[in-house]
Amino acid sequence: MSTLNSKIPEGPLPQKWSDYRAKCRLVNPANKRKIDIIVVGTGLAGASAAASLAELGYNVKAFCYQDSPRRAHSIAAQGGINAAKNYQNDGDSVYRLFYDTIKGGDYRAREANVYRLAEVSNSIIDQCVAQGVPFARDYGGLLDNRSFGGAQVSRTFYARGQTGQQLLLGAYSALSRQVKKGNVKLYNRRDMLDMVLVEGKARGIIVRNLTNGEIEKHSAHAVVLATGGYGNVFYLSTNAMGSNVSPTWQAYKKGAFFANPCYTQIHPTCIPVHGKFQSKLTLMSESLRNDGKIWVPKKKEDVEKVRKHELHPNDIKDEDRDYFLERRYPAFGNLVPRDVASRAAKERCDAGFGVNSEGLAVFLCLKDAINRLGKDVIEERYGNLIQMYEKIVDQDPYTMPMMIYPAVHYTMGGTWVDYNLMTTIPGLYCLGEANFSDHGANRLGASALMQGLADGYFVLPYTISDFLADEIHTKRFSTDLPEFEQAKKGVEDRINKLFSIKGSQSVDSFHKKLGHIMWEHCGMGRNEAGLKEGIELIKKLKEEFWRDVKITETSDVFNPELEKANRVADFIELGELMMRDALNRKESCGGHFREESQTPDGEAMRNDNEFAYVAAWEYKGENAEPVLHKEELKFEEVKLVTRNYK
């Protein structure tokens, strides 16, 4: 029997959230002052939550591993943020945004959460404009929109190619305002290394001060994790170098179920890999697919010549180009969802049509758009992306088609949460990319920013009071409690153990090996034999890591090698759980493609009879197998159909 209670409110879908808000319990202002909340992570979800909770009167402690909250990786989001404003009069509505998101997620998300997300989307845009976020505007002075993958309306708000940056700086400014008021205390350069539970409830965290190595104990009435995704398990991804799974992984080990870890998003438009030294991959916003056409040559001999630089791609005639997305999916063309676009690119490259020397790239050509709209318009829309590409690849996208290839970008899986965004540990909340709730098996473009800010500004401030209403008589916790001491000791023991190994291989070399195993066995295509082999390889890697890792210097100084070791140790364990989850899910859905489950023409095949559930994993100990709990997904509003973008 499942122990999971999603706590979805009764009533018709469109009324659930307004009914919830009307009836949820509140904490009065005098009591809010007596309550402390820890927020880990200062990206869109964390910063917006910390600022909003502080505005309400709670005492907030905000933690981030960067040197400033403004640097969280939300800042790198380029394309935009969705909202159902229907400013373009093109037929958009809350229902349509909800429907597109559920469908885009391949019917593996919870209806009630997604509907709420679509409902609050409009308030986000209002809020950001009020903060001074300089969204793109039309000549009349009103907000402009662009279209994005998986939708047939233009509902994406943007600030050039730097939307994430502008939204994050908006949330950061709201956070800074509360720091000034004394309602938020900031803890920069801190890595969260453990959770503290007191009598079964989340009451604190253990962090390492990255500047001086001190292990600190922090207590609160509730803990909020907004620590982002775990794409760096693949080593090469579009995530920041420091992005890590450690906070949610430690929560998992303390009893917070981890849901759908196998759902990872491979983004179709990234700059291809070019060399062993490479440390990360760079995304080119999906918005380029609005104006760019994706293709490979039709003839193998042209492919060969292009690879050897004997033929300029611009000299290949239109009829000799295979615009494979337009060919396979005429209705959506270049704007199919990300999982579909990525697999189509991989299919062409696997068939031998890849256009760079490694054979792992396709073209994205802006030529038609430049001819149609002029170079100025393209520069205004994508100038910063084009500059980024130019710096990395040393080619000019205005005259030479860009080369792109899919790369790990976003993780839909994460800590299991109920409708209140609370995990299976009472008092522990999880927001944004770190939780599993809103994107199902595939996230649509411009929805991550929407979810992060929805959770932080408009959902958590309501739902957390439902828990805290019972905590008004709970006195502040002393960090001298044995629970804190014990957790601190655990962290210190692990660090000492890492140093005591004195092995021969660097942390990075282990991370690269892990990434290779993950990409080969749990990447864009997965199958039973490969996953089983992958699990064995990871077990071996884990053993090797704890026997032969080499960490230089000591723990009481600024020590990047130790930071990485802590993170990689957790990634290795996560990798195994991802493979287990992928092995269990014998269907293809969204970003999870099981090669055994496809149609004759290579499209993903879902199995709704057996797998319309959330797979939530419970940790059972170091050497025990995790236990699977299923949350059945009930669809009251939408009918499950095969996604069709043709």
């Binding site: 917006s48 505005e55 960067q66 040197d67 400033s68 909250p69 403004r70 640097r71 990786h73 790198a76 404003k85 845009i125 209002d126 809020q127 404009v129 009020a130 001074g132 300089p134 969204f135 505007r137 000549y139 002075g141 009103l142 907000l143 730097q162 940056q165 502008q166 700086l169 400014s173 709201a174 800074s176 305002r177 000034k180 920069n188 500047t211 579009t238 920041a240 170098m241 070019h274 060399g275 030294f277 490479q278 440390s279 990360k280 760079t282 980024m388 710096k391 990395i392 040393d394 401030p461 140093f499 660097s506 070399s509 080499k550 960490i551 230089t552 210097e553 000591t554 600024f558 090698e561």
Partner: protein
């Protein structure tokens, strides 16, 4: 490519630092500057015999970095006397080795400015920037209860110019390159962005005074219009925003 690196090594904020010389070989021109440093660190770590008893120069070089795509503002170092190296419109992570020649000697230093104390090697503490924003770099609105986003039209040129200013990533190159260690470009970027938008206009006078006062208090120097900040700014934020801030400041002072 084979290169000689002279890198600033410093144990912590209190210790004295010095340059150490390293050789790296077989560097691909396609790799980024930080990936070159990764390779140096990998070499230093693998060669280090006793990982605990180390001399400062033997262990990996510490440097700040995160997104490695030029937007988070975390990386930043002085390379051959230029903030973020000898290329314009980029951060250190966007600098590629093809900008150097084989057998080059490259000198690498941290940002040097009194308000940015060195934490270790090339890592500096830029929390002074956070303090300046906390002094007033925001619009005083709470979550919820705001008008519809399209309720106030904003002329496109104003929105565009506000965006030009808002592109600042807070990396600190402007301070590091300024002979006075002035933070005027950083402060002006925020002041100007919000002064150009009706939402920010309401508190514009108070904001500019508070932010400038904070900047002075933290020990950043004065602006003498040399324009070096604009040249090194990875986001090409123009010094015209400093002019706007000066106007805002003067008007605010005269009317207060």
């Amino acid at each position: 490519m084979d290169l000689t690196l002279k890198i600033w090594r410093q144990k912590d904020s209190k210790s004295k630092g010095k340059f150490e010389t390293y050789q790296v070989t077989g560097i691909s021109p396609d790799c980024s500057f930080l990936e070159m440093l990764d390779q140096l660190n990998e070499k230093l770590i693998s060669e280090q015999k006793d990982p605990v008893a180390f001399a400062r120069g033997d262990c990996g070089v510490s440097f700040d970095h995160d997104c490695r795509e030029g937007i988070c503002g975390m990386c930043g170092m002085f390379i051959n006397g230029r903030a973020h190296g000898a290329d314009t419109g980029i951060t250190t992570c966007q600098l590629h080795m093809r900008r150097f020649k084989d057998k080059d000697t490259i000198v690498v230093e941290p940002w040097r400015a009194k308000p940015f104390p060195i934490i270790k090697d090339l890592v500096v503490d830029r929390s002074a920037f956070d303090q300046i924003i906390q002094a007033g770099g925001y619009v005083n609105v709470n979550t919820g209860g705001v008008p519809d986003a399209n309720c106030i039209p904003i002329p496109k040129p104003n929105a565009d110019e506000a965006m030009d200013a808002a592109a600042c990533i807070g990396c600190g190159a402007c301070v590091a390159t300024c002979k006075n260690a002035s933070a005027m470009l950083f402060v002006a970027a925020k002041v100007s962005q919000l002064a150009l938008l009706p939402q920010g206009k309401v508190e514009a006078k108070e904001r500019v005074q508070k932010m400038v006062a904070k900047m002075d208090e933290l020990g950043f120097g004065s602006c003498t219009n040399t324009g070096a900040c604009e040249v090194e700014c990875p986001k090409s934020v123009s010094i015209s925003h400093i002019a706007r801030m000066n106007r805002e400041y003067l008007c605010a002072k005269l009317s207060s």
